[in-house]
């Protein structure tokens, strides 16, 4: 049995390398996010209104653009307040963007388009806390059946079979012993697998996974990560993984999009970005990860994430950045190209040499 487990790991990693060595332009673009903005009004008291003080807004996402290609895994990484989850929600249509466009398979998505049932078949999302994904009063079967009914798929027996297949593919075997259970009768890891199964039952083109493993116990995390990789490999399903954990991103992602206070700090091929980051914020995230080589990665950012209401002028990272100079305090950095599909927004980009000193 131990051999089986180890083999599974090896096979997965081999296939991963096959995929990443393919010509990058060989898959087609399925999602394009263009200059996306999402501002939330801050509720103000009577005193503010009387004083006619300026309208205050939280700029959760403030001009984010990226594309997602078929069958690839993208990591949206950053700390809280970076806007990574809001980006995911806006793509799903759970939030309406303040401005900017989202195109999915060539079609620009409007609020109306998002409600269209056809879309919910191709674009699905799973959440951090699987206990909040399910209605506690419904069995898994009732939840699955509802999803399929809304999607207009299958007769009742067909729906049952599709649900059983999805559960089984998500690793809940034998599926028949799980399908009639209530969420409270499953462990956290089992329920997260069931949540992934609800996304799979319709075989989406893109799965948005918001911190899918961060609530799970250490020993179960690996299983769910392998499951996501398997689905990506077998079904050519693209995944947008929202995570704060770079070690999870290292295993799963082909591309990384590093966000800070509503903007992209750096984006590019995952291995290159992680091994040779250009943005000091990327380096700070790497240095904060457990068990990295402390001699090389000793870059600790100062303080905490600033507020999304009083955004720092110039580069948003400058109050925490040890390389910040006058230009960083005044002028927002423009995008620079570091390599194929790799860009960063920084006035004083890093090289590995700089990190060592």
């Amino acid at each position: 049995m131990s051999q089986e487990i180890i083999l599974q790991g090896v096979i997965l990693s081999e296939v991963r390398y096959d995929i990443s060595s393919e010509n990058k332009s060989s898959t087609s673009e399925i999602l394009a996010v263009e200059d996306l903005k999402k501002y939330y009004p801050v509720r103000r008291g009577v005193a503010d209104l009387l004083r006619r003080s300026k309208k205050v807004q939280v700029k959760a996402i403030d001009g984010v653009s990226f594309t997602v290609n078929e069958g690839r895994v993208y990591g949206l990484v950053g700390e809280s307040g970076s806007g990574k989850t809001t980006t995911g929600y806006t793509i799903m249509g759970l939030e309406n963007p303040t401005s900017g466009t989202i195109s999915f398979q060539g079609k620009t998505l409007s609020a109306k388009e998002h409600k269209h049932a056809g879309l919910s078949l191709k674009l699905r999302m799973i959440f951090q806390n699987p206990y909040e994904t399910f209605d506690p009063r419904k069995t898994l079967w009732q939840t699955f059946s509802e999803i399929l009914q809304v999607a207009g798929l299958g007769s009742r027996p067909e729906r049952r079979q599709m649900s059983l297949d999805a559960l089984s593919r998500a690793g809940l075997r034998p599926a028949a012993s799980y399908i009639d259970r209530f969420p409270s009768e499953l462990s956290g890891g089992q329920l997260q697998r069931a949540a992934i199964a609800t996304a799979l039952v319709v075989e989406p083109v893109l799965l948005i996974a918001d911190e899918p493993v961060s609530m799970l116990d250490a020993s179960i995390r690996a299983g769910v990560m392998n499951l996501l990789l398997n689905l990506n490999r077998q079904k050519k399903m693209a995944i947008l993984l929202i995570t704060h954990d770079l070690s999870v991103a290292w295993y799963l992602c082909d591309y990384l999009i590093v966000m800070y206070l509503g903007r992209i700090a750096e984006k590019g091929p995952a291995e290159q970005v992680l091994q040779n980051p250009r943005h000091p914020y990327t380096a700070a995230l790497i240095s904060a990860s457990p068990m990295v080589d402390k001699a090389k990665w000793n870059f600790v950012a100062k303080g905490e994430v600033d507020s999304n209401i009083d955004l720092p002028k110039g580069c948003r990272f400058h109050p925490r950045c040890p390389f910040a100079t006058d230009i960083c305090r005044e002028q927002e950095p423009a995008p620079e190209v570091a390599g194929d599909g790799w860009s960063y927004w920084c006035h004083h980009p890093l090289s590995v040499q700089k990190l060592k000193n």
């Binding site: 116990d217 179960i220 690996a222």
Partner: protein, 317 residues
């Protein structure tokens, strides 16, 4: 000199409606002076229950059914209440996990500090002020924030307030229950580094309770791996990480994602953590263990000596 904290064959059970649930089943370990010990395990492994038992803070339905916990040679389980309340804060203090619910939302941070000193410190007003200054400085908590209410502070700042609070009465042992789990990664790193530096400034031992092997491997001298209420491995952290001997520790380390791991292999542990109601006889890890033999189902494996101070629980160490 005797150990600072000694836990011997501790058994704790919770009384449920119609039966007893054993959450901690014969746990022994010790914390020496000026040592950092990490108690690592998944949810349900009993790690928090051990800490609660040591401070006698078990919920009403929980009780120590067997074993001893001694602190500075005093038995914490039988100690009269007045003496125990002296040991809390002054001997052992605790940094809780959730900083928002651990500080009073209706009081300034300074008030909380003063309350603790009022109960545990008999010095003059100036001396009390000096203690507060020293504690906040050690914890890197900005002094002006003492006038803040909890909602005016970030998560990192609240956690620093709690660390300062735990140092206020100069305890010999600080128990930190998942001290940084709720924080952002960069702040997590800052606070853990500060806690490590603290140990060279104050002579306090540290017992960190966590699910995160990364934290233990970087900040603890000794690690204690718990599973299903038992110690599965115990030893110097470096030795356990490089040469784990119980299959559970082995697989846990292999399943832990590691940034820059060149093999990019994630090895999963099959199955789920045990439910305490239905732990099978024999070794509780049997249902998930790839190496199990027939003896594992029949007999509970002993905690076996590996070398030096390194022990592992398995029939095939």
């Amino acid at each position: 000199m005797a150990s600072l904290l000694k836990v011997e064959n501790l058994k704790v059970s919770y009384r449920l409606r119609n039966r007893d649930l054993t959450a901690v089943n014969g746990v022994s370990f010790s914390v020496e002076r000026a040592q950092a010990v990490g108690l690592v395990g998944e949810s349900g492994s009993g790690k928090t229950t051990v800490a609660l038992a040591a401070l006698r803070l078990l919920p009403a339905n929980g009780s120590v059914s067997e074993g001893r916990i001694t602190f500075d040679d005093r038995d914490l389980i039988t100690l009269p209440d007045e003496e125990l309340s002296r040991i809390r804060w002054e001997g052992i203090s605790m940094v809780p996990q959730n900083s928002m619910s651990s500080l009073s939302p209706a009081h300034r941070v300074r008030t909380v500090f003063r309350d603790v000193l009022m109960a545990h410190f008999s010095g003059s007003e100036e001396e009390a002020e000096a203690r507060i200054s020293r504690a906040v400085e050690l914890a890197n908590f900005p002094k002006k924030a003492l006038e803040f209410y909890p909602h005016q502070m970030s998560g990192g700042m609240r956690q620093r307030a709690l660390i300062a609070l735990s140092l206020l009465c100069e305890p010999k042992l600080v128990i930190a229950d998942e001290p940084t789990t709720a924080l952002d990664v960069i702040v997590q790193r800052q606070i853990m580094d500060e806690m490590r530096d603290l140990r060279s400034k104050v002579e306090a031992s540290l017992l960190i309770i966590t699910h995160d092997i990364g934290v233990v491997s970087e900040y603890c001298d000794i690690m204690v791996v718990m599973y299903a209420g038992m110690v599965f491995e115990y030893g110097p952290t470096k030795e356990v990480i490089h040469d784990p001997r119980s299959p559970y520790t082995k697989l846990l380390l292999k399943s832990h994602p590691l940034l820059f791991d060149t093999t990019k292999e994630i090895i999963e542990i099959p199955g789920d953590p045990p439910e305490l109601e239905s732990i099978p006889g024999g070794c509780p890890f049997v249902p998930r263990c790839p190496y199990s033999q027939s003896i594992c189902k029949e007999a509970e494996p002993p905690l076996t000596h590996v070398s030096g101070n390194h022990f592992a629980r398995c029939h095939f160490v």
